[in-house]
Amino acid sequence: MNALQPVASDDYLDQQGALIPERVRADFPILARELNGRPLVYLDSAASAQQPRAVLNAINTYATTTHANVHRGVHGLSQAATSAFEGARETVRRFINARSTSEIIFTRGTTEAINLVTQSWGHAHLGAGDEVLITHLEHHANIVPWQMACAARGARLVAAPLTPAGELDFPGFAALLNKRTRMVAVAQVSNALGTVLPVAEIIALAHQHGIPVLIDGAQAIAHQGVDVQALDCDFYAFSGHKIYGPTGIGVLYGRESLLAAMPPWQGGGDMILTVAIESSTYNALPWKFEAGTPNISGAIGLGAALDYLDNLGRAAVSRHEQRLLTLATAALQAVPGLHIVGTARDKSAVISFTLDGVHPHDIGTILDAEGVAIRTGHHCAMPVMTYFGLAATARASFACYNTSADVDRLVAALMRVREVFG
């Protein structure tokens, strides 16, 4: 196969249209390495997914042939860098089906995207006695920025309850919407439990009350088809590194009418039209929210990652991951004393679990020695852990490059944990 030729989507699929993970794996150089003397089994993509050669090559090509600052020079390099950077913005727009690139703001990641909203929109729209409604399963990135904005404005942060399965208690959520609610901010997929939230219903209900909705899409973007117009969300935040792109780049989608009315949140170069000592005028969207030199190569890498995933086929990847989820959920039942935390009917390919008598940290160390990389701890979601009376869990997450052999290795490594701890 010629490395310079894009691989046709069909080459990744078998005759039934199922993803052939071995073909996908060949695109990810890191998967060829060993971990502690054993072939790497990477089950931590929910924390950070690996990057395919298409992304690494795009970044390298940019750095070796094109790099210059964007939106500045008349020289050829700056123009080429600008068109590559703005081209990546168009790729993002197409991927999430936004109306316009004016609605696509590059950030450092999901966390910065949410902070942009809490600081710009939050400070302009939150007042004393107002409420922001989140859920009990949010990542810290969709809790702490709201806490800070609420504290600064005298507003209150309210969290909707969950069911014992780790699903949103929808009637409980609906009951918390009231005249004081100024914003609903929820995850599309729980990073700690894998629960898929009914965001379309949440958005429809919030909009009936005239309340805007922010969706934290960090865990959803790589696994669900995301169409911001069909969802009708007001803000959508995600990170590049959860979708096979580089770290340090992410996106805030915002409805244009909302973004246009929001004040800038960081000042500096690129976000202005004119500057005098007395005052300045601000740039048009989306640049109004992008002060300073952006992460140009990160944006280009993200664009390449989105193209890569689209080439694999989002539906095929999703089916593959769901197959692994079903397989792993069944296979883990064989491990004595293992309990899956989060048993929602609609789940992303994330399995959080505990093992009787063994702390998740000890599970993580023994699995690491067996070459299996998983996440252990509170997953930056301490309130949901507290909700289930746990300090920590072990978490295996699956991506396009995982195989049923990875599930077998996970189970075998967990049996090894049982041997050590009895």
Binding site: N36, H359, H361, M382, V420
Partner: protein
């Protein structure tokens, strides 16, 4: 890397049946330690008599390494002079991190923790109890210098980060 070197029988035994688990009330000194990496916490209370650490109890939530380390520590420090406890604190730190002055003195059962240094991600689990003990003793020294009894409400917060 062999996990058998980390999870030795002594460690597994102290994890299953931690010694001196609980809480002293009243206590002469107390501190709470946190490991932000895993959300674990360790609460420690102790009594001092005739310049010696006469009793120590700990409780909290933790991995096998942090529970076993606290359990082993409680046995090692009970009955020791406060000066000897401080010396031991430095010796254990050297043992865990493999520093220059590693294992100058015999450390007895605490040597069961020597495998931890091959697992850098786990050093903080083993050292959390020692940092917490050190903070409790420093707090007590500062409080007695100021002639204020140690207040449970003003526990020093310890983090290994």
């Amino acid at each position: 890397m062999d996990t058998r070197d980390l999870y030795r029988d002594v460690i597994l035994d102290h994890n299953r049946s931690p010694r001196n688990f609980g809480r002293l009330d009243p206590a002469d000194a107390a501190a709470v330690g946190h490991n932000p990496l895993c959300g674990d916490s360790l609460s420690l209370t102790l009594r001092v008599a005739d310049g010696k650490l006469s009793e120590m109890r700990f409780n909290g939530q933790g991995c096998a390494i942090s529970v076993a380390s606290a359990s082993l520590m409680s046995e090692a420090v009970t009955g020791k002079s406060l000066a000897d406890v401080t010396t031991l604190y430095h010796d254990v730190h050297a043992l865990l991190t493999g520093g220059q002055q590693a294992a100058q003195r015999p450390l007895g059962k605490l040597m069961a923790l020597s495998g931890v240094r091959e697992f850098p991600a786990r050093v903080k689990c083993a050292s959390l109890c020692w940092h917490t003990l050190n903070a409790a003793l420093e707090q007590r020294a500062a409080a007695s210098a100021a002639a204020i009894p140690a207040q449970a409400a003003a526990l020093p917060a310890v983090s290994t980060e």
